[in-house]
Symmetry: C2
Subunit: 334 residues, 2 copies
């Protein structure tokens, strides 16, 4: 049994400073962070994207990732989906008293590795400790700042009839990986989270086309939620083809076993793009060149019909409405 | 008994959208937030300050404030202490299943009122719900972005021998107000939190002097921690006069009763400034004109002696070292 986090690690006193100086700052060290003032300071000129997300995933380590990698990817991806190049992130920890310091160290190292992969730096942070039973091991908030270069105007409001819907790969992997770990389920084909930073993928797409209208990562609520959001925000209909949507066999099997629909299961390394039909193939080619976009596919299109709704043509040739999920599918997956 | 938060409010589905559309967004509405994309987008040109803080205060409502006001003030103040003009903040909620929606509404309205007072806008947000017993009613993270105008270079590293230490008012009020509420203590003189946005106070100070070297708000760990941080970061000694430090009678009485030292108790509406001696009186005058600086006082100075340490001359004429607090004084006060 290793050393554990105490309430005093969150007090603002000597133990807090020790935790910051010995565990939290060394892996993340950079000239802005190491200033250790109340705010990070840097120059920025242009159109800025700013986003925030808290991560409460249970368990904090899961096949394919951990809460640290998730927290960096989630915020990097939100910035990327606005067409921004992610630059700076913050890291705020809420730790439950009793967490092993060694586990915290692993999470911070994962934050470091993922930030390096994405090319962002952690410039400011915060640590709070709450008494045992008042949190669940570790919650993380990351906020992020990026720069939007050029004249890109990407928004969920910009989908237009005729646009193609492109999905960057198989769906449902993150949600099923977390759930299988949490519930101790074993499937024939193990499922690994797709948790990944998508900023380089998006950079390739933006270099290939100036007619990408909407981008979003289908996290909570899955692909179904994201498509419904696009349909509502843009006041259009969306039609998708079930046969074109990639689903890993392990995810398909697990979902069938549990009566879940992969359309509603969270992803953390996938994106949906709404693209002008004239550029769809070019964007698809660019996506397939990136390691996180190899399975990209055109899965449907935007239409003037059934406004505000998503309709799926099934494998057997019928059509069904894909509704916004009403409630909780899988809690605590991000 | 009113309506309560369910796990499904954090699912990304229809209940999530309802909560955001009906409770969270209306009070905070502004053109950037209402875009509802993955990131907020705005123009920014210059030297930017960026900060983050999570708030886990218990209870979430206390004399003089609540977790919403606290979350806005804390981040506004961190930006202000870097000499930045706060502009934009994010609001990320981690809600324990079962929280009354009416309480959430009150917190969001408090966020709105405090943001209005400070002149900042909430541009992006996030909501997570965790199962009952896995959080403590409500945790909030706010991150903030501000602009540093002019050539101000304010840092905890910049304290120089001869500089005067100015404190903006009485200490210990926030910590004692939260603790008295949490523990159900009644004192003869009730203590109210000083929780307040200090950006207008700082703007007045910066207009009055270009020789403010360091600024910090003495939150967790109190005045003692902040002064010790300055002494270490700048490699100087600091001497303060006990008789010059304002302490509200209610705080003094409560601290005596409980064996606590107000030097170590958190403040949420106070600042410490390290100022060139030639400008100290000018800065003091500017501070006293602001409603949150009426009791400002010069409490000591920076010295070449006892480097890295804070020494207090007591009322009875002796000297004692004011050390960094080792552990937890009062947990969960911010």
């Amino acid at each position: 049994m290793g050393e554990k986090i105490l309430l005093a690690h969150g007090s603002g006193g000597r133990l807090s400073h020790d935790l910051i100086d010995k565990i939290l700052t060394p892996p993340l060290s950079n000239p802005i962070l190491s200033h250790m003032d109340d705010s990070a300071v840097f120059e920025l000129h242009g159109r800025v994207a700013f986003t925030t997300d808290s991560y409460v995933v249970n368990p904090i380590f899961f096949p394919g990732g951990d809460i640290g990698r998730l927290a960096v990817c989630g915020t990097v991806n939100d910035l990327s989906m606005s067409g921004a190049r992610p630059l700076y992130i913050s890291l705020a920890l809420i730790i439950e008293e009793g967490l092993e310091i060694e586990e915290l160290r692993r999470v911070v190292e994962s934050v470091r590795d993922t930030a390096e992969e994405a090319g962002v730096i952690v410039v400011t942070g915060d640590t709070k400790v709450v008494d045992r039973g008042k949190a669940d091991r570790l919650f993380i908030n990351t906020s992020g700042i990026g720069l939007i270069e050029g004249k890109s105007d990407i928004s969920g409001c910009n989908a237009r009839p005729g646009d193609k819907i492109i999905l960057s790969g198989g769906i449902g992997e993150h949600g099923m990986a977390v759930m299988s770990k949490r519930e101790g389920l074993q499937f024939n084909l193990p499922v690994t989270s797709d948790c990944a930073p998508l900023n380089h993928l998006v950079a390739g797409m933006l270099a290939a086309s100036r007619r990408i209208h909407s981008l979003r990562d289908p996290t909570r609520g899955g692909l179904a939620s994201t498509l419904n959001e696009f349909a509502r925000q843009s006041g259009v209909g969306i039609t998708i083809e079930e046969a074109e949507i990639p689903v890993h066999d392990g995810v398909r099997g697990a979902c069938e076993l549990l009566g879940l629909d992969p359309l509603y299961i969270a992803n953390e390394g996938k994106l949906v793009a709404v693209v002008h039909p004239g550029d769809a193939d070019t964007v698809l080619d660019a996506m397939r060149k990136n390691k996180y976009g190899g399975q990209s596919a055109i899965i449907g299109e935007v239409t003037t019909e059934h406004k505000g709704r998503v309709v799926m043509k099934t494998r057997i040739g019928s059509s069904r409405i894909v509704d916004m999920p009403a409630g909780e599918i899988l809690p605590r997956i991000c």
